[in-house]
Symmetry: C2
C-alpha cells in the first residue's frame, strides 16, 4: 500500500475519490480476458458517467459502448463517440431524441422486448423516413424484462422491425445472487445459451442476426467461451465495489472508488464515531445486507486506502455517518478532524451522489472529473 | 382531484414533479402552527435545495434558515439570505469557508458538540480575528450526536467558546420511530425539555444562551408548547413523503413530490409492469420497510396524482422499476407508453437524485427549478 499524497487531505469532505491505477488495471484485465475468449467488450458507461472514464474504457471514438440514459448518449455523442447502445427498453416518446442523434451520424442502438415498442419504431420510421438500429432483449434468467429465447413473439417482433433489427441482447442481472465460481460459470453459459437459442430460432426463420450481446460484471469475469458471441457488456468492473467483492468477482484491493470523510464527533457511551458522510455521500444502497458479508453503508479504510478490518458505516442520515467501533479499536485513534476512506457497497449508486469526482492519478497527482447528470 | 394539465405528459421520463399548491399549503400550515404555539420556524432547506423553494419557506432574506452543507450556505448567501445555520457538526478544516461567508456579512451559525471543535473555533478566531456564532448540539434522544443536557462538558464547551457561543440546538431524529399521537407529543416535549435543562444549567453558571432551537418534522407537528423555545426546525414537511405518512404526520393528499414514469414493458407470467424509473430516479431509500406499511420504492399513482391502492414499486435497478400487479389490476390497464406517478418513501433522498425539478404551479402552468448540488 503506497501512502496517500498530501493533496488527498485538502478537498472538503465528503468527496468521491477514484484511484486511476486501479481503474486502469480493472479495465485492462477484463478487456484482455474477453478478447482472449474470442469476443469484444461493449463497456457500460453508467457507473462513472464521465467523459474521462469513457476515455479509459474505449479505445477509439468508434468503439462500442453502452449507456443507461439518453442524456449520456447525447453527452458522449457530443464528445465524438459514435457507437452507443441505450440499454433500457425504449419508451415510444423517446424516439424523437434517438432519431435526432442518428441524424447526426451516431449509431445509437435501442432496445425493446414487445410488439408495442416495435410498432412505435416502425411507425416513427415510416412517418419521418428515419432508420433505427434495434436490439431485442432476451430474458436469460427470469429476473426483469426481455422475452424467452423460444417465445414465438421473438419472430413477430423481429419481422415487424424488418430492416431496423440489428441483434439480440441479454443481461443476467440474476448473476448478482451467485457467489460460487461454478455458479457464476453456469450463469455465464446460461446467458450465452439464451442468445444462441434465440439467434438460431431467428436464422431458422431466415432472419439475420448481426450482433449478439451478453453480459454483466460477474458473467463477464466468469464466462469460459464467448467465441460465437459478438460482444460482452459490463459496467461496475470499472471501479468494483463491496457487492462485487461478496460475489467473488474482486477483492478489496481492486476497489477503485471510495468516499473521503472526516470524523466530526464521538459518542463515548456507545463507542461511535460520527462522520460527515451520510447517505447523501455514500448513497442509500445497502446491497451487501443480503449477501454473505454485510458492510452496512461501506467498509472503513485509513486515508491511505488500507482496510480497517471489521469497521463499517453502520447507519447514515442525510449528512451524518455512524461508525460503531468494535473492541479492537479505540475512539482515541480517530480524533475529531481525522480523515477516513469508505469503500462503497454499490459503486454506481455512490458515484450517482457526486457531481464531481476527485481522481488520484497513478503518479500521485490530482484530477477532477465532472459527472454527466440527468436523463 | 383536479385532472393533470397536458404538459405533464411532455417532459421525458423519469422526472421529478413538485405540486406547488400542496407545497404552499404544507409550508403555511406549519408556519402558522409553530407561531400559534409561541415560537418561530427556522426551516431546513435540505429537502429541495433550490432557491425557489427557499422563496416559499422564508418570508424575507433575513429570515432564519437551516442548511445541511456549506455548498447550500454559499448558494443561499449569494442569493441574499443572511441567517443560516449549518446543522452538521463542524469539521475544523471547514472553518475557512465559514469565515469567508461571515466576512461577507452572512450570519452563518455553526454546530458542535465537543471540545476539540470548540478549541478549533477559538484558535481560528484568535489567529484570524474572526468572530463565529456557535450552537452547541444537545442530545435529546440518544440517536446520533450531541451532549446530554446535564453533562458537565456543556459548561466547559460554552466557556471555551466565550463570545462565540450563541445557543443550543437539538434534533429528535428518534421521533421517526414513533407513530402514535401521544408518542409524538411526548417526543416533542422531550426535545424541548432537553434544551430547557441545558439552558438552565448554563444560566445557573452565568452563561447567557441567546437562542434555543429544536425540531424535526414529526415533533414540529405534534409539539404542544414552544413558548419558551426560540425556534423550531423542520425540513421534509415541505413536500412530505411516505415515511411521514406512516409516522402519522401527513396523508397521501399532502405529499407534494412524485416521480413521473413511463411503462416500458410487461412480464405477463409474473404480472409485472416494467418502468423507466429505477433507483436513479427514486433513490435507494427503502425507509418504509421497517414501518407499519412497506411501500417498497414508492406508492404508484395515476398521472393525475390519484393513488392506485395497493400498488407500489417492488424492486429497482439503476434505470428500471418493477411494479407487481395485485389481482385487482390488469396489465392491459397499463399499456407500454402509459405514464404513472410514484410518491417517494423519503423526499430528501428522491430529490437528491434530480438536478432539475418540474413544478406544477397552482394555475396549472409549468416551471423548472435547479437543485443546488455538492458539498
Amino acid at each position: 500500500m503506497k501512502s496517500a499524497p498530501d493533496w488527498i487531505a485538502h478537498p472538503d469532505t465528503p468527496y468521491l475519490l477514484i484511484d486511476e491505477a486501479k481503474l486502469k488495471s480493472n479495465i485492462n484485465y477484463l478487456k484482455q480476458r474477453v478478447e482472449s475468449l474470442g469476443s469484444h467488450l461493449r463497456p457500460h458507461l453508467k457507473t462513472l458517467r464521465t467523459l474521462e472514464a469513457a476515455g479509459y474504457l474505449l479505445d477509439s471514438k468508434s468503439a462500442p459502448a453502452t449507456v443507461s440514459t439518453l442524456a449520456e448518449a447525447e453527452a458522449y455523442a457530443k464528445a465524438g463517440y459514435t457507437d452507443l447502445l441505450y440499454a433500457v427498453g425504449i419508451a415510444p416518446a423517446k424516439l424523437k431524441r434517438v432519431a435526432a442523434l442518428r441524424q447526426q451520424g451516431i449509431n445509437l442502438h435501442i432496445l425493446l422486448d414487445n410488439i408495442t415498442q416495435a410498432q412505435a419504431v416502425v411507425d416513427y420510421a415510416a412517418e419521418f423516413g428515419q432508420d433505427f438500429s434495434v436490439f431485442i432483449e432476451i430474458d436469460s434468467d427470469d429476473h426483469r424484462g426481455g422475452i424467452k429465447p423460444s417465445d414465438s413473439k421473438l419472430l413477430t417482433i423481429a419481422k415487424t422491425l424488418g430492416e431496423h433489427f440489428t441483434g439480440l441482447m441479454t443481461h443476467a442481472g440474476g448473476s448478482y445472487a451467485c457467489n460460487t465460481e461454478q455458479g457464476l460459470k453456469n450463469f455465464a453459459k446460461q446467458e450465452c445459451d439464451a442468445v444462441r437459442i434465440a439467434r438460431n430460432n431467428l436464422e431458422t426463420a431466415g432472419i439475420h442476426c448481426a450482433i449478439t450481446s451478453v453480459g454483466s460484471t460477474p458473467t463477464a469475469h466468469f464466462g469460459e467461451d464467448f467465441s460465437d458471441i459478438s460482444e460482452v457488456r459490463a459496467g461496475v468492473y470499472t471501479t468494483f465495489d463491496l457487492v462485487m467483492k461478496n460475489i467473488g468477482v474482486c477483492d478489496f484491493s481492486h476497489i477503485a472508488m471510495s468516499v473521503v470523510t472526516t470524523v466530526i464527533g464521538h459518542n463515548k457511551e456507545k463507542n461511535w464515531l460520527l462522520t460527515d458522510s451520510g447517505w447523501m455521500a455514500l448513497s442509500r444502497d445497502s446491497g451487501t445486507a443480503g449477501q454473505n458479508r454485510d458492510f452496512g453503508y461501506g467498509q472503513v479504510c485509513k486515508i491511505d486506502g488500507s482496510v480497517l478490518d471489521g469497521l463499517c458505516v453502520n447507519s447514515t442520515s442525510q449528512e451524518h455517518g455512524v461508525i460503531e467501533l468494535s473492541d479492537a479499536y479505540q475512539l482515541e485513534d480517530f480524533p475529531v478532524g481525522h480523515q477516513l476512506r469508505i469503500m462503497p457497497n454499490h459503486a454506481c449508486a455512490t458515484a450517482a451522489m457526486h457531481p464531481v469526482y476527485h481522481v488520484l492519478m497513478s503518479d500521485g497527482s490530482h484530477n477532477t472529473w465532472q459527472r454527466i447528470t440527468g436523463w
